[in-house]
């Protein structure tokens, strides 16, 4: 199983099925659990952004997630037909420091994605946002 695809409605509760897909796909391809957890964490950030911001509440939409594993690379391609949004262009919020009273809620998700992935790329293709997340998987 080198490729696996899932289309889900863009709703919060449907994100659980992506976690199950990532776990099954990584298990079948002998990807270490630390790395599948990393991919699941990054996908939660990306997918919950799409759920919250990509589509109007009245219309809704879908999200496609395709996982591939080849040449020691675990890749997730995430596509939606929502508003154009390049997460790599979002400036990093620099107030994520200090004690509890100084902290504001939010602003960590994209930081985690950039820190945890070996590469992240974005393209707008027709009416689609395409975000590619890649983790290098060392040979055992």
């Amino acid at each position: 199983m080198r490729r696996s695809h899932l289309q889900i409605p863009a709703t919060q509760r449907d994100l659980r099925s992506v976690v199950a897909l990532v776990d099954a796909f990584c298990g079948a391809n002998h990807v270490p659990v630390t790395l599948s957890n990393r991919m699941n964490l990054a996908l939660d950030e990306v997918l919950s952004n799409i759920v919250n911001y990509a589509y109007s509440a009245s219309e809704g939409g879908t999200i496609d997630v395709e996982l591939t594993f080849s040449n020691n690379e675990l890749t997730a391609l995430v596509e939606d037909r929502g508003k154009p949004f390049d997460p790599l262009q979002v400036p990093q919020n620099d107030n994520q420091k200090g004690s509890l009273k100084d902290r504001q809620l939010g602003g960590l998700g994209l930081l985690f994605v950039k820190q945890l992935m070996d590469s992240v790329s974005y393209a707008r293709s027709g009416d689609r946002n395409k975000l590619t997340l890649t983790i290098h998987v060392p040979s055992t």
């Binding site: 919060q12 994100l15 957890n37 964490l41 950030e45 919950s48 939010g106 960590l108 985690f112």
Partner: protein, 111 residues
């Protein structure tokens, strides 16, 4: 969400398991705050059975921390696997909470 509660040496230890992500973070916060408000003692959240915490979980931890701000009670985090701890370091959450490696240290600090 499955959260085990243990009373140990006058400290409330909460041990959630699984992932803390956008699908369950609100429930995580509500359950933890409910358990904390039912007691008057220090609190340890033990992460040993947590696989990963996404930003939604960090948001919940801030909400939990702020809910205790005026109470004079301690909230200590402990038991994180290296991979989980790494993400807390990205978020600079060692500036927000005391994070101990073992439950014993966490319990001693929460008392």
């Amino acid at each position: 969400m499955d959260i085990r509660e243990v009373d140990q040496d006058g400290v409330l230890i909460l041990e959630p398991s699984g992932n803390i992500d956008s699908t369950n973070a609100k429930q995580f916060a509500a359950q933890i705050i409910g358990a904390i408000q039912a007691r008057q003692c220090g609190v340890v959240i033990d992460f040993q059975k947590i696989r990963y915490v996404s930003s939604a979980g960090f948001r919940s931890l801030l909400i939990i921390g702020k809910s205790m701000e005026d109470s004079n009670r301690k909230l200590i985090l402990c038991g994180m696997a290296a991979e989980v701890r790494r993400v807390f370091d990205f978020a600079r959450f060692d500036e927000v909470f005391v994070i101990c490696s073992s439950r014993e240290d966490g319990t001693a600090q929460a008392r």
